[in-house]
Symmetry: C2
Subunit: 312 residues, 2 copies
Amino acid sequence: MHEFTLIERYFAPLAGEAGLGLADDAAVFTPPQGRQLVVAVDALVAGVHFLPDDPPETIGRKLLRVNLSDLAAMDATPLSYLLTLSAPRDTPEAWFAAFATGLAADQAKYGITLIGGDTTSTPGPLSLTATVIGHVAPGQALRRNGAHPGDGIWVTGTIGDGALGLLARQGRLPDPDGFLADRYQLPRPRHGLSLAGIANAAMDVSDGLLQDIGQLCKASGVGADIDAALVPRSPQAKRAGPTYLETCLTGGDDYELVLAVPEGRAADLQAACARRDVPVTRIGHFAAGNVAVRVTTSGAPMPIARPGWSHF
Amino acid sequence: MHEFTLIERYFAPLAGEAGLGLADDAAVFTPPQGRQLVVAVDALVAGVHFLPDDPPETIGRKLLRVNLSDLAAMDATPLSYLLTLSAPRDTPEAWFAAFATGLAADQAKYGITLIGGDTTSTPGPLSLTATVIGHVAPGQALRRNGAHPGDGIWVTGTIGDGALGLLARQGRLPDPDGFLADRYQLPRPRHGLSLAGIANAAMDVSDGLLQDIGQLCKASGVGADIDAALVPRSPQAKRAGPTYLETCLTGGDDYELVLAVPEGRAADLQAACARRDVPVTRIGHFAAGNVAVRVTTSGAPMPIARPGWSHF
């Protein structure tokens, strides 16, 4: 099938007005009046970020969600996205159909439309990117560099399910109810929390909680003290046992938010999260001095072999 | 080397203000007052869009230029870009350094800055995308759907050098002065022509001149009559001989503009292009009726085996 047919059949129906029917060289849109734009891009590669035999519906949705999680970290409202898809030449048409079905479902869920993209072949694994565009009130984007010593360290949802879900998908961990695999395949970006004025800093947890908190510490020039026992884990993650605690703290693929919140705003944070039915848990506090993440368990320092994921 | 080190060392120095030092989850910027935004994304894959042994400096520049060519087709002014880079784990640090040097050179040339991105590993070939953001006066973006019967078909620069340059790089065509290989590796996007009010339609030539004109015809509901002898070719392309005429017309990788211009605006077009030292040539006209591209040579129909490139 010619790539133009592929685009017309499966992607043009996903296009918003700015996408010009995906029949032009670029998207054109009028930015929302009086707002700043927030733009992020993430790449997913088969065998690295998802498994080649993951259902194509979930692959498109994961692609959108990991990107929407970046917007959520900045407290931005999503607007639209662009897609690149580099696929092996023998990718069956049914794969594209299912992939587009997944995108359509999440477009409806998150109120976004496709506005552009590029479809190419590759001699390698399926590789995807989404560029997401959102908007925020001027000066209100949450940054990583605003944490103050004394701020509580809070995380949304539960940590570790994604990393354990990958092990489950690889047959290395039991997952009787499929919960962990589902969390690996379908992250839940924490959009719409409206935390400007409540959180001093935020980032999304994608490369491992401890490593990502380390990044936030570096940007803010603070240290962090974390009690591993306070890190929220799902019943399914707890069932994996204490051997997997470190995997949860460092494995990544969480797409939850980590937040720096002054103690006086903790109640506001909890109320904002409750309005969206998002659990939020205090796991420690930021501290002055040395830019380092200190983790304790039962009051004793917890040794960590590798704080998170690196591609290289 | 940890990917964070890679980003800090080679990509953070390329970041504009909106990129927040590449230390946050997304870019944040205030869109230019009273302008529409224009956004395009293109993917390049080693072995498909460039050769794995192309100089890394040119790979980054080609990535930017194919994307800037999309903005040029819409008559938009470039502003910034986001980058994704999926590289094999054994990619040497020197490759990243040279790649970033190429990006820096073209950032300066085109007045753009890096504002975000993602760096991942891949078990496959090096894969890159750039998302470029530009702006245009409201309603002034050039589209593909505005061509009228009777409009002249004009192209900038010369056609076919990129496709012949690939053959030269593969050792299948002599290229004594390296001109053709250079045109394959370093396209020249035709930005800044300011053709709103002069051209009725525009697109960039990337997948083969005849196929791309066919796309423009389809969007505009017109046909096209082209005299192959009028299609501008470089001395080096002409030297390849008549056997390669069809390759020039259908090979792609030109990143020139094809324009629909009313006969009464031809002089304005020529003046606008002359101001930027861009050659521009009339190769035929759009016609009412059947949406088809008719090519003649010496007055006789020229049979075309395949009008352009398809990835699938």
